[in-house]
Each structure stands twice: as structure tokens, then as C-alpha cells.
């Protein structure tokens, strides 16, 4: 596309050449009027696959229109947290309350129906079905809806239409809605998953590593979509290893270390250095809110 001299090339100018337009790295945290609490988590404990305590008595709450960012190095309990909130993992102790209703023991299907959206971190292994067409992949989050499945018969026409809208609106590069998901690139697949989950207009969105491994253009796109969802009053739990992402998007930052929050800091007050230190296990005094 272009040749830039190393000395003159900046992150911004390189990204611009790669994507073909200007890329905004820092998305402004938009002020959204704080709504009612959508998610309340009380003293939640979860076991990992190996059977040890992955999450040890975590408490927090997320309001409508808020992004709650969890900063941490993978393996400190954040995936277990995402799974237990999505209903894919059993809680050992504690409570999960969605808009005033106890959902600690609800199945993942019930949670989808109650307005929980989940973007999993494994987009190929969990988030999509490679041998399914794009239409069938979109169907993953809609087959249980009353207006898609009538008397057990699925309305594929409706989902095909939705898929066509999604493909154009979210810029999924695919020849047709019948393309198999395994032929999509990582960025396109993530756009598809994001679109599928967001088009349900979730009240609570669990976004687990939503921009991991994406190119700059797709990363920017995903972040913008998260901000849009926030403006539409969704409460968002954002899990990321990218500290810049957490700091620039979150209203609250909770660094996680060995299954515990090292503090919950308002996004405006979170500094790179202190959050980084907390991710490494340093508990900062007086930061609890």
C-alpha cells in the first residue's frame, strides 16, 4: 500500500495506511445517564475445570449504560466469571441478580431469553459453527424466539433477511449468506458474532476478549459497537487483556488477580501504572468503592 520511513511512521499513520482511512485509537468514553442496576453479583465463587477456586467471593454491580471493565492476565478467573454469568458454569456460592431477579441457577437458554448476551472468547470453538452457513450461525441466538420458531418450525426466511442486513451493516466480507462460517477470517467472524449478539439488544452484554487477535480496523469497529450498545442502555461486562482498551472504554475498572478483584476504580481515575500493578496482585488501599 505504501512505504513509510521507520523514523516517520507512527502507530496512527501505519494504521491509516493499513485500513485505508483514519483509525481512532482512543474512543471517547461517552457519558450516558446512569440507569438502574442491571446486574448485581454478590460474593460469587466458581470452580475452574481443574476443580480449584477460580473466582473467590467476587461482588460488583453494573448499571444500565455502564461498561464494567475487567483487566487481568488470562487465567485469573475472568473466563470462569464470563461463563458463570452466561449460565455455562455452575456457581459454587453467591448470587447473580439480573434486573432484580435471581438467575444464579438459571440455564443459559433462560438467560438468553431474559436479555443476557454473551460474546465468548473462543470465536471458532464456541462462538460459531464452522460447517454451518452464516444464516444458520445467526440462527444460534434466535432459534428459541417465539417469532422465529412457530410450533417448532423455524422461519429461516426471516433469519436470512436478518443475515443479509447484518452482512451489509457490519461489513462482514462474505460472498453470500450461504457461505460457511469456517471460510470467514477472524475479524469477519467476530463481526458476525458481535452482530448476532447485539441484534438481540441485550440488557446485559458479556464481552470476553472481544478484540483479541483482530486487525486495527476490526478492533476499532468492535469498540465502536460496544459504545453504541452502551448508549442503548446495555450494561456491559468487558473482559480484556488490553489495558488501553479497558482504560479507554470502561466506566469502572476492576483489575482481577487470582480470582479476586484488586479493587474497583472509576474509569476516569484509573491510571495505567496503578491498574497494571493491581493486575500483578498489588492491592491498592482505599480504592474500593
Amino acid at each position: 500500500m505504501a512505504c513509510l520511513e521507520t523514523g516517520f511512521a507512527t502507530e496512527k499513520s501505519l494504521a491509516e495506511k493499513m485500513v485505508g482511512r483514519e483509525v481512532i485509537f482512543r474512543i471517547e468514553r461517552t457519558r450516558v445517564e446512569k440507569g438502574k442496576p442491571i446486574l448485581q453479583v454478590e460474593n460469587l465463587s466458581v470452580l475452574s475445570d481443574q476443580g480449584f477456586l477460580a473466582l473467590d467471593g467476587v461482588s460488583f454491580s453494573i448499571r444500565e449504560g455502564e461498561i464494567f471493565g475487567i483487566a487481568g492476565i488470562s487465567g485469573n478467573g475472568q473466563h470462569e466469571l464470563a461463563e458463570v454469568l452466561a449460565g455455562l458454569r455452575k456457581a459454587e456460592g453467591g448470587q447473580v441478580i439480573l434486573a432484580g431477579k435471581d438467575i444464579t441457577h438459571s440455564s443459559s437458554l433462560e438467560r438468553w431469553q431474559m436479555g443476557v448476551g454473551h460474546i465468548p472468547c473462543e470465536r471458532i470453538e464456541v462462538g460459531s459453527i464452522g460447517d454451518f452457513s452464516l444464516v444458520e450461525n445467526i440462527m444460534m441466538n434466535f432459534y428459541f424466539d417465539g417469532n422465529v420458531s412457530r410450533r417448532g418450525i423455524l422461519d429461516y426466511g426471516k433469519i436470512r433477511k436478518l443475515t443479509e442486513e447484518i452482512v451489509s451493516e457490519y461489513g462482514v466480507a462474505a460472498p453470500s449468506p450461504d457461505t460457511k462460517a469456517k471460510n470467514l477470517s477472524g475479524g469477519n467472524l467476530q463481526r458476525l458474532i458481535l452482530a448476532r449478539v447485539l441484534s438481540r439488544r441485550p440488557r446485559l452484554l458479556i464481552a470476553n476478549l472481544p478484540t483479541q487477535g483482530l486487525d486495527v480496523g476490526a478492533t476499532e469497529f468492535v469498540r465502536n459497537k460496544l459504545m453504541e450498545a452502551k448508549k442503548e442502555k446495555a450494561g456491559i461486562l468487558l473482559i480484556s487483556e488490553d489495558l488501553d482498551e479497558i482504560l479507554s472504554l470502561s466506566d469502572w475498572v476492576a483489575p482481577i488477580y487470582e480470582g479476586e478483584f484488586m479493587g474497583i476504580i472509576p474509569g476516569g481515575e484509573a491510571r495505567r501504572e496503578s491498574v497494571g500493578a493491581m493486575m500483578a496482585g498489588l492491592r491498592v488501599k482505599g480504592s474500593e468503592t
Binding site: 470453538e125 462462538g127 459453527i129 464452522g130 444460534m140 420458531s149 417448532g152 423455524l154 429461516y156 471460510n183
Partner: protein, 380 residues
């Protein structure tokens, strides 16, 4: 491979239409028959003559055709019983056991009505035949559900479970019909009591009504997988169980459900062979032979790629060849096992030809040598 200025190349297929798959299967069948001709040539028989005998007996002979059709019905039911769990990513190897239990269920209904003791012939078929069908399906369900439950609840391998249960079911049938068993034939011939003629399955032009059952189930399954919510959930579980779980599909209910459905269909296959095929009407001494035959449901299911409609012609071909093969073996004084050998060769060839589902041979003109060498460079 290069021939003159043309080149033969293997190319990866990105898509495969139903028609392409069908053509590949037909080529495989032709290839298998050509391969099997060597057996006939070794026996100093003209293969063309042998094939003519096989096909004309199986598909155009007044004695052979009904046998073919009965076997086709049986195989199609077994294929459907395999396909349902297969689409959920699970392997039902338990059709033999499930069909034995289906047969036991059907005969248990007659036993309960006192057929064995009193030889009553005034039973009303309108009540008994539906009851026998339901009992046969339930017999298969009972057996299938064990594998489905263990898979869904404890993730125990369904192949091992169904396989083991086959042996239990086999010996349970032996216990029931042989010396001293409750279903024993009063004559003590090591087979079950016979159906009274009043509950023989209705025949339509000499063909048991179960043909509608088998075809109807195949069509219904096609519709189930193509259009319904439950079919979608089964397919999602089959392609990626982790993604299915993420989407809220129960990884307990789906294995249980598919094995219940598969078991029910296999149970009906048991009803068909032992209570609906003219001239049988009892659990015969060689019931194990039909258990072995049920395994061809796996082959038919794999060849038809889990498509219940594609299974119809495949099951018909396998049914016909097994009947025709057995016929020429006797007629041409050949050694034992021509039918099984023929089905075996066909099976291996069809599986080997699935290579062409993923690759195709492209026939391209290369032009001169230099240009084809230069081409890769111009990209960089």
C-alpha cells in the same frame, strides 16, 4: 501428472452439491462392480452374465423383488435409526439390540393377549397391530435411551454402550425364544411362537405396509432436519457441541432425544422383519443374521452423508445386492459369502470415493513450460 500440454491436478473442493455427491457415488458403485468382476472371473464366470443375474433377480423377478423390498424396508429403518444420532454427532451402533427389543416388544403384546397359550384367531388386528408397533418402538426406545442418558449425563462413550447392549439383547432373545423361554415355540424348534394369521401385517400388492412407515420416517426426518427447531438443535450439537451449549442447547437432552428417536425407529425395524415379512411371522432361529444386517444401516447412513432422503436409493441398492448376491451364489455354484463380499467391496469403494467429496481432478491446459514456471514469480 502431465500429459502433453495438459495437466491433471488434484484440486480442493470448496463446495459440494447434492448432485456432485450423487454422481461420485454412482461412479463408486460402477467401480466396485468392476472390481468385483475379478471374483467372478476367478470362478470362471462371465461377470456381465453374473451381474445381469444379480440385478434381474433382485429388481425384476417375481420371487426376488419382494425379498429385495422387504430387505430395503428393513435397511432403510436401520439407516434412519443410525442417521438421527449421527446428525447429533453420535454413533448408534446399537441397532441390532434395539431391533431385537423391538421384536420382543411386539411379541410381548401377543403374549399378553394369550396368543401363545390359546392360539386365538379372533383377535382384532385394528387394535393389536398398532399396539405391536407401539410396543416395538418402545422396546427400541428403552434400549436406546440407556446409551443416550449415559452419554448426556456422564459423557460415557455411546459406541461402547450400544455395542455392549447388543450382546445383552442378543442373549436375552435367545433366553426368551429357546428351550424353556416364555416365547418359545410349542414345537420347541428354538424359535418363538408364530403370529396368528389374523394379526399378520396388512399387505399392499404383496408388500407389507411397513414400507410406508419406512419411507414416511425418511421424509419426516428430512423435514425435521431442514426446517424444525429440534432438527436445528440436533445439527448444531452434531457440528459443535461446545457452540451448541453456548447457544443454550442442552447437551443432556439432545443425546437422550436422538437415541430415543433412533431406538424407536430401530424397534420398528424389528417389528418389520419378524412380524410383517410374509413367510417369517416369528422370531426365527437365525435372528442374529438380521442383527448383523442392521449394521449395513451404518454404511448406508455414512454413504448418504446423513441425508435421510439419499438413504432411500442407497438402502434399495444394498437390499437388492444382498438378495441378488445370495441368489447367484446358489445358482452359479459359487463359494459361500458372495453377497457379503459384494457388499463389502461396495462399501470400501464408496468410502474410498469420499475422497472426491473433498478433492476433484482438474484437467487444465498448461501452455508452454516456461510460462507455467514463471507464473508464481509474478505474484510476489
Amino acid at each position: 501428472m502431465r500429459i502433453g500440454s495438459y495437466e491433471l491436478k488434484l484440486e480442493k473442493r470448496l463446495t459440494l452439491t447434492g448432485w456432485e455427491a450423487a454422481i461420485i457415488s454412482i461412479l463408486a458403485i460402477i467401480f466396485a462392480l468392476a472390481l468385483f468382476s475379478f471374483i467372478f472371473i476367478l470362478a470362471e464366470i462371465n461377470p456381465l452374465f453374473a451381474y445381469q443375474e444379480i440385478f434381474s433377480y433382485a429388481f425384476a423377478n417375481p420371487y426376488g423383488l419382494p425379498l429385495t423390498i422387504n430387505r430395503f424396508i428393513f435397511l432403510l429403518l436401520c439407516t434412519s435409526a443410525f442417521i438421527i444420532p449421527f446428525r447429533a454427532g453420535l454413533w448408534n451402533i446399537g441397532m441390532p439390540g434395539q431391533l431385537y427389543f423391538g421384536a420382543l416388544g411386539a411379541f410381548a403384546v401377543l403374549f399378553a393377549f394369550g396368543v401363545k397359550e390359546f392360539h386365538t384367531s379372533d383377535l382384532s388386528p385394528e387394535i393389536l397391530i398398532p399396539l405391536m408397533l407401539i410396543a416395538a418402538a418402545l422396546g427400541g426406545v428403552g434400549l436406546g435411551a440407556i446409551a443416550g442418558f449415559l452419554k448426556g449425563k456422564f459423557n460415557i462413550n455411546e459406541i461402547v454402550v450400544t455395542m455392549i447392549i447388543n450382546f445383552i439383547a442378543f442373549w436375552l432373545v435367545a433366553h426368551m425364544i429357546k428351550e424353556g423361554g416364555p416365547f418359545m415355540n410349542p414345537g420347541g424348534r428354538g424359535e418363538s411362537f408364530e403370529l396368528p394369521p389374523s394379526v399378520y401385517a396388512p399387505l399392499i400388492m404383496g408388500i407389507p405396509f411397513t414400507i410406508f412407515l419406512a419411507l414416511g420416517i425418511a421424509v419426516l426426518l428430512f423435514f425435521l432436519f431442514a426446517k424444525t427447531k429440534i432438527g436445528y438443535q440436533i445439527k448444531a450439537h452434531g457440528h459443535n457441541p461446545a457452540a451448541a451449549r453456548y447457544a443454550g442447547i442442552s447437551t443432556f437432552k439432545i443425546p437422550l432425544l436422538v437415541f430415543i428417536m433412533g431406538g424407536a425407529v430401530a424397534g420398528l425395524a424389528g417389528y418389520h422383519y419378524f412380524a410383517a415379512v410374509p413367510g417369517v411371522y416369528k422370531i426365527s432361529r437365525n435372528y442374529g443374521y438380521f442383527g448383523d444386517l442392521a449394521f449395513y444401516g451404518i454404511i448406508c447412513g455414512l454413504i448418504s452423508q446423513g441425508n435421510p432422503l439419499a438413504a432411500i436409493p442407497v438402502a434399495l441398492l444394498f437390499g437388492g445386492l444382498s438378495i441378488g448376491g445370495r441368489f447367484v451364489q446358489g445358482k452359479l455354484n459359487m463359494g459361500f459369502g458372495v453377497d457379503y463380499a459384494l457388499l463389502g467391496v461396495l462399501m470400501i469403494t464408496l468410502v474410498a470415493f469420499q475422497f472426491f467429496y473433498r478433492y476433484k481432478i482438474a484437467w487444465t491446459k498448461t501452455g508452454d513450460l516456461l510460462e507455467s514456471r514463471r507464473r508464481p514469480l509474478s505474484n510476489g
